[in-house]
């Protein structure tokens, strides 16, 4: 690429802006803290990125299709206690894994059906299931944390060498979902539906099925996220994942997905999740108050999205 087109690429793709921020934060931390580049710290960062990243993959598909899924945080909690309780009750950790993902899938499917068949707005639908799923997790456990330390939990706490297992899962799933989004018919239909649902329908795309599919995928990935988070802590708390939907949505938006649907890339989403994880780590390493952390993340999201839409406005309206 010649110089001008590099500049143009940076200017027009939010992924690029966020990637640049990521590199800057990475370099800054390398100089600012001697602990940053240690294997132990990087492995912690990788862990922090993983669950947000995995759940964001599904969320990204939902948002690209023109929807939103607020229920993922609660699904994480529900799936985590499901994993613990099912493996405890049956004595088979593998069933715990299946149960966690299946319960997430079920909530996602329910979201999709409510949105498409009964035509409840996605925001409202998933606000409802957010409450229901959390309530179900509390009800099932009576509010008590569940021990979860069998081999299924290893997916969450385990490492291969220095690399957390869940990070490897994130890498693998990113590749799969990116392939799905760009190279399969169903993936491309997700973009078409989010871009102009009416035109997509008239061009022969099954819009309802596409929407149900993305919600189901998002729910399943949130279910997996719950399994990993519960496993990481070897303890499944029914309140696990509280407020996670905000982090996940922020990562997706930071990664360049348009909230209005139709635009965005899976690669960008993972970069967005990584930036958020790195920022969190920066506050810990630099010993800054956690309150600042919360404020800064909000500022970064507004900055990145604002810069992008200022850039875009001239072309669009």
């Amino acid at each position: 690429m010649e110089g001008r087109s590099v500049v143009r690429f940076l200017r027009t793709r939010r992924e690029a802006t966020v990637l640049a921020m990521l590199v800057i934060v990475f370099l800054g931390l390398t100089f600012a803290s001697e602990f940053f580049l240690t294997g132990r710290n990087l492995s912690n960062v990788a862990r922090q990125i993983s669950v947000v990243g995995i759940v964001a993959l599904g969320q990204a598909l939902v948002i690209i299709a023109g929807g939103i899924d607020l229920s993922v945080g609660s699904v994480i909690g529900l799936a985590a206690v499901t994993a613990a309780m099912v493996s405890a009750a049956t004595g088979m950790p593998s069933l715990g894994i299946v149960g966690a993902i299946a319960i997430g899938m079920a909530v996602g499917f329910l979201n999709g059906v409510l949105v498409t068949r009964i035509r409840i707005n996605p925001f409202i639908t998933t606000l409802g299931t957010l409450s229901i799923a959390r309530g179900a997790a509390l009800l099932a456990t009576n509010g008590n944390p569940q021990r979860f330390d069998n081999w299924a939990a290893w997916l969450g706490y385990g490492r291969i060498g220095e690399v957390p297992v869940q990070f490897l899962l994130l890498v693998a799933l990113t590749l799969v979902v990116a392939f799905f989004a760009t190279r399969t018919r169903w993936g491309r239909n997700v973009y078409a539906v989010g871009d102009n649902a009416r035109a997509a329908r008239l061009a022969g795309i099954d819009v309802a099925r596409t929407r149900i599919m993305v919600f189901t995928l998002s729910g399943s990935l949130a279910g997996l996220g719950g399994l990993l988070l519960g496993g990481m802590l070897t303890n499944s708390n029914p309140n696990l994942g509280l407020g996670y939907e905000l982090d996940v949505i922020a990562a997706v938006i930071l990664g360049g997905v348009a909230l209005s649907g139709g635009r965005g890339s899976i690669g960008g989403v993972v970069i967005g999740a990584a930036l958020m994880g790195l920022l969190r780590n920066a506050f810990v390493l630099l010993n800054v108050s956690g309150y600042w952390q919360t404020i800064t993340i909000g500022l970064v999201v507004i900055l990145a999205v604002g810069a992008d839409s200022l850039n875009r406005r001239r072309e669009d309206d």
Partner: protein, 496 residues
Amino acid sequence: MTALLSVRGIEKSFDRNRVLTGIDLDIAAGEVVALLGENGAGKSTFVNILSGALGRDAGRVVFAGAETVFSTTREAIDAGIIHIHQELSLIGSLSVMENLFIGDYRTGRSGIIDRKALAAASRPLLERVGAGHIDPRRTAGELSTAEQQLVEIAKALSRNARLLILDEPTASLTPHEAAALFAVVRELKSRGVAVIFISHRLEEVFQIADRVVVLRDGGVVSDRPVAATSREAIIADMTGRAFALGAMPPAIVPEGAPLRLAAEAIGDGAGIGPISFELRAGEILGVFGLVGAGRTELLEMLCGKRAIKSGAIRLASGAAPASPTAAWRSGLALLPEGRKTNGILPNLSVEENIVVARRQAGGGLVARGSERALADRLWRTLGIVAAGPGQPIRSLSGGNQQKALFARCLAADPSILLLDEPTHGVDVRTKGDIYRTVRDLAGEGLAVVFVSSELPEILALASTVMVLAHGRRTLYAPRAGLGENDVLSAAFVEAA
């Protein structure tokens, strides 16, 4: 006479694509200037700059004696430049009357909308543009494209225009509504309003314009009084070479061809129908009628978008489709009316817009190589003008978007083609290409139903003609033996 509008050296590029290369133009008050050119010549870009919808890279604009740089359309409107865009821009969820008086709704200080007064103020505006049949209280989004177009024009009348810009206002109107529009234009002209009129229908230019300005590749290639030019000269200026629309022999209904589709007294239970007809392989059924006659609704019933409440459709390939998805699957292809709302996937590339329907019939994996080859071939056949197949379709000119939607239908390799205003906004040369393509495919056994507001198009292309009026079939006959008047008078049959 001093010019009302005086433009010098307007230039505009999108990235490295130079779209306008320096435009000079003067328009006097009360003058109607036709702005012509092929798809992608830069007409819309130019008028968008005049009305503040787009910024310019270079050049000066003097309007009513003052040097102007409009950075928003609001400023242009306040100065008296009213621009009706090529793509419709009514607010679909508001009523017609709210759209007509958008912004202040005639509320005065109180801020409370007086629905009765608003409706009363709306009716004369609608009547003036020949849309008296539209109830001002209806939701704008429910109207057909052509009706929305009329409302847009009426909206311009509710404002105090000094320069009216009409970007292809007649593309979805029949001669009847177009005539009403021209009457309005003449009236405005007599009050000293200047008009810029963009159209691909050359006969209209001779009806209404004082001057003809032709753009090619972003520059003015000719600027003549209408009396000093001719159809041939305009086409030569637009295309850059002498060019004749080769007359096609009239199409004939193929003898004994297999039946592809039969509609038996179908109706939507809301004023359309009962309508019956048969469609055979190789037949080209042209559907004509006034705006609101039910042409689009008929196509919607055929493709499963609109529920059929009475009667039935039989397809040679199986049951009637229950949804557009099912329709494409059983070999129907649909080119809908209203390319912006119903047609394009705006942020996806031209290529993806072309292959999207075909893809639904394929396997799960996207076959990039063969998709690209196919899009490339259709792209070339239809002469789509764009920076490349990866360009988002929203940044193509209107006519080129339309060509891409036509390509989408062809790519799906259908056995029945349903086209609603297939040449909406397409330039003269490409129209010829589309006609030839449709004829060739019909020769290979494709059955076609097409709706058009252009009578010459119906007569040139159809082998069978159907005319609708007030939701009923008023004419259904082979093209051979029909004259212009037969078709027109059937369109004007009064409601029973």
